[in-house]
Every structure is written in structure tokens, then in C-alpha cells.
């Protein structure tokens, strides 16, 4: 059984008073996410990718269809904590998700809510801070940290729950390049060393290119669902969905159109340079 499975999921926001019902945001999504996977979800603004993220830990409940997390239907109100313990969520603005006035207290927040014994909380907080390399800041006030550090604290607050999956809704959108790099490295390390599934909602192509699997969403539907190499070879389809393609992939696409014999799965610069050298030899 897959960790998360979405079966024919549709969603529209409830109608406001005196208005027509909200437009359909998600339309018949079928998707499965396995344990230990690193999935990037791409889509332009309004493609429904953030709404999709919120369905994965029962912040929103699908209007049609079901979402199962580890076999639990997210519609079951009494299993809410079970779902949220398994699927953690990190949001875009690091300032708006830190609750406490001290870093380690914030990391402990979820564990305190779950009612774990003090010794266990201490152990997990230390582990989580070590996993995001923020141990030395344990007793600092969060407002003194950089954006990247705050976002790592937020991630630590989630992984302290030992979830099976972390969903991140554009976690790097408000960070500078250095903060983005810190967060991406942290996520990759968590995925490799701790086997945590990562669902990364993003609009940065270079971040998506580092995932194992890329899901492209457009107008509430899954447009593409494949490894990054394959996804980025569909240059026209992506451009049609309002998305950019990594430069290297675009170059290779143009060259292929011009009749140069290049493999279709080149997405980063090194591979591109390598392939071009092969041809020029």
C-alpha cells in the first residue's frame, strides 16, 4: 500500500453567501506517493498546487473522492491527529509558522501537543535540530535568525513528529539564494538519510529538477507525472501550462528541433555540456 493515495479527488471552495459556488480548484486527481519518494509538484499560480498540498494532511477535505494517508481516510474527523502526525506541513512564510519565543520550544510544540513524555520530547528535539544542523541555535530567539535558518527550524518542528512524509508549500519562495540552498540541502539529506517522503510544491524549475519525480499541475489537473528528465523534455506542454523549462533542457529542445541528434532527457548544464561535446568530437 502506498503512503498517500488520492482517488479521483476534486475540490472547490464553499460558496460565499449570495455568490455562485467557488470554481473547481482540483478536478479528478489520481495520484500516489510512496514511502521515501522525493516528489516535486510544479504549476503556475492558480493551478491548484497549494490546495492539493492542503488536502494531504486534512487541512482541507476533498469535495469529491478520497485521500488516504497510510490507509486512513482524511475525512475521518477522529483520526485527524493520526493523519497530521504522519504528514507534516511546512508553509511559505517562516515567520508565520513559528509559535514559541525560543527555537527549541518551537521544535517541541508538536510533540507537546501529542502529549509525549518530557524525556522523549527532549530526545526528539535534539535529534530534529541536529538533522537540520541548527543545534547551536537551540536557545536563540527565532526572530534573530535568517530566513533560511527560520525555515530550517520550521522543518525541524515537523520532523520532530517523525512523520512519514513532509509536504512543503513553496518553502523557498521568500528566501534569498543562500537560504534556498540551505533548505534544499536539508530536504535532500532528510530524504536520503531518514527515508522521509518529501512533497515539494514549488515554482522553481531547478528545485524540481533535483526531485526523483515531478508532477506538473495545470487548471486543477495532473498534466504530467514522470521523472524530471522526461517531464522537462515536454517543452511545449510545459510552456503551454505557463511554466519555464531549465535552460539546458530548452537548448537541447531547440537543437533537436533543428535536427541535432541529442537525447531527450538532459536537464542540467553538466549533462548538456557533456552531450554537446560528444557531438562536436
Amino acid at each position: 500500500m502506498k503512503l498517500i493515495s488520492c482517488r479521483n479527488v476534486s475540490f472547490h471552495y464553499p460558496a460565499q453567501e449570495g455568490q455562485t459556488p467557488g470554481a473547481t480548484v482540483l478536478d479528478g486527481i489520481n495520484l500516489e506517493i510512496g514511502r521515501g519518494e522525493f516528489v516535486a509538484v510544479l504549476g503556475h499560480n492558480g493551478s491548484g498546487k497549494s490546495t492539493f498540498a492542503k488536502l494531504l494532511n486534512a487541512i482541507l477535505i476533498p469535495t469529491k473522492g478520497e485521500v488516504f494517508v497510510d490507509g486512513i481516510d482524511t475525512q475521518q474527523q477522529d483520526k485527524l491527529l493520526e493523519v497530521r502526525r504522519r504528514v507534516g506541513m511546512v508553509f511559505q512564510n517562516p515567520d508565520n509558522q513559528i509559535v514559541a519565543t525560543v527555537v527549541e520550544e518551537d521544535v517541541a510544540f508538536a510533540l507537546e501537543n501529542l502529549g509525549l513524555p518530557t524525556g522523549e520530547i527532549r530526545r526528539r528535539v535534539d535529534d530534529a535540530l541536529a538533522a537540520v544542523e541548527m543545534t547551536e541555535y537551540a536557545t536563540h530567539p527565532p526572530h534573530r535568525l535568517s530566513g533560511g535558518q527560520k525555515q530550517r527550524v520550521a522543518i525541524a518542528g515537523i520532523i520532530a513528529m517523525r512523520p512519514d512524509c513532509i509536504v512543503l508549500d513553496e518553502p523557498t519562495a521568500m528566501l534569498d539564494p543562500r537560504g534556498r540552498r540551505e533548505v534544499m540541502l536539508t530536504l535532500e539529506a532528510l530524504n536520503k538519510n531518514h527515508g522521509v517522503s518529501v512533497v515539494l510544491i514549488t515554482h522553481y524549475m531547478d528545485e524540481a529538477a533535483r526531485a526523483e519525480r515531478v508532477v506538473v499541475m495545470d487548471a486543477g489537473k495532473v498534466l504530467l507525472d514522470a521523472p524530471p528528465g522526461e517531464v522537462f523534455s515536454h517543452t511545449q506542454l510545459l510552456t503551454g501550462a505557463g511554466l519555464d523549462v531549465p535552460q539546458a533542457a530548452k537548448l537541447c529542445y531547440e537543437l533537436r528541433c533543428a535536427g541535432v541528434n541529442l537525447p531527450g532527457e538532459i536537464i542540467d548544464e553538466d549533462a548538456c555540456v557533456h552531450a554537446l561535446l560528444q557531438i562536436l568530437k
Binding site: N93, I98, A108, E112, V125
Partner: protein, 277 residues
Amino acid sequence: MKLSDITIGQHFPGQSPVHLMDPRAKIVVTGAYIVMLFLAQNLLSLLVGAVFVLITYPASGIALRLILKSLKPVLPIIIFTGILNLFFVSGEPLWEFWRLSITAEGIRLAVHMCLRIVCLIAGSALLTYTTSPIALTDGLEALFSPLKKIKAPVHEIVMIMTITLRFIPTLIEETGKIMSAQKARGADLESGNILQRMRAMLPILIPLFVSAFRRAEELALAMESRCYHGGEGRTRLRVLAFSGVDVWAAVFTIAFVFAVVAINISGPALGIPGTLR
């Protein structure tokens, strides 16, 4: 004053016996100290209260001149109280001028009242100087938790306090940004009379409120994502525990309360004039 200079309940970390006290004990001792000040009925017993502060400040490694700093904002109140008591207490006049008169009782009462305010401020300031905001809120929650039995929302109030403390720096930073943004658009915040300046604050307050509401909504989502479901069944990372220091502090405080009460009672017999009554 720069916006970033604003601190609420300034805290000086340290390892002194006072710092090491359990926050619950510190809150109770502060409460007892305030009661002690109000019990004091003559100047000598009030001086005992002043001695309490003069001992506890050095014991916690906090410089005594910080008392002056914490008195600054209440200085007008102290002066006002002093003058009021000096001139408007009836008794044997020592000195008369026009329709004002100063009496011995008036002088005593004025000194008593001023000294009481000074001690009050100094004593409660020491609590925030030596206790981190988080320890303070933990202590308050623990002390007031019996009220949960009568359905008082103790946990919720403490949660609100914690989040407020957490967001004060964030909102101050944001206010600075909005002010810069509005100035860049030509907003004039510094000139004009009070009414004009208050009007000029509107374009700063409105964006600030809008953003605060948006932040609150996101924070609520983030808290729910982290399994927050109220105070029920919640455990804590840090567990409060009393230690030897707290016992000594209790003994010390009780001794002072006794001294104050004893001087109150024996005051008339020793010929110390009472200032109250």
C-alpha cells in the same frame, strides 16, 4: 528612539540564585513582597521592605542603577503623589504659605508613599529582569492551573501571551518596513500638530492590521498542522521543579514579612510614629 529598541519585560540571563529559582516561586515571592509593602505602616517597617530589594538586586547580579532606569517612566506619578501628600494632609502645620501648609504628618506620608512606589516598581522589575518570558508564562500557567477546574481558559490565555511575545519583534520590524514604504511614497509622518500626525499614522496602521490578520490565519493553519488541539493532554518540554534555592527564598521572604509585621505592632510602643492612620 528607534523602533527596534523597544523591549517588553527586559530579561538579563544569568546563573545567580535568583535566576535559578523556579518561576512559580519567583512570582509568589514577588506577590508576597507587594503585600509586605502594603502591610508596612510606619517608615521603619517600610525601610525593611527597601532592604529586601537592596539585598535581592546584588544577589541576582543586577546593578542597582537599573532601579533608576525602571523608575523613569513612573517618575511623574511619584512626584505627583509626593506633592499631593505633602500639602493636603491635615495636622499641626510646620510651615504655612498662602493657603498651603506642610505638616509633619504630610512629610511622613509623602515619603512613605514615594518610597512604597519605588520599592513596588523595583521589586516587580526584578522579576522580569531575572525571568525569561517563556519561564514567566510557564510559571503563570502552572500557578493558575487550579482555575482550569472552574473552566477558566488558563491554557488559552497563556498561549495568547506566548504568541504575543513571539510576534512583537516581527510586527515591530514590519511597522518599520511599512513606515519606510510610506515615506518613500511621500508620506509625512513627522510634521504637523498631534491631530495631523495621528491621521498620518493611518496609512501605517491599516496595512499593519491587514498583515497581522493574514499572519494570524497562517499561524493557525501551521499550529493545526502540528497537531495543536487546545491544552488538553498537552505535555511540556521543560518541567518546572522546585529546588533548594526556592526553599531558602521562601524562608528569607517569610522572615521579612514577619519583621514588617513585628515593627508594625511594636511601633507605637517604641515611639515610632505611624504614617498610615
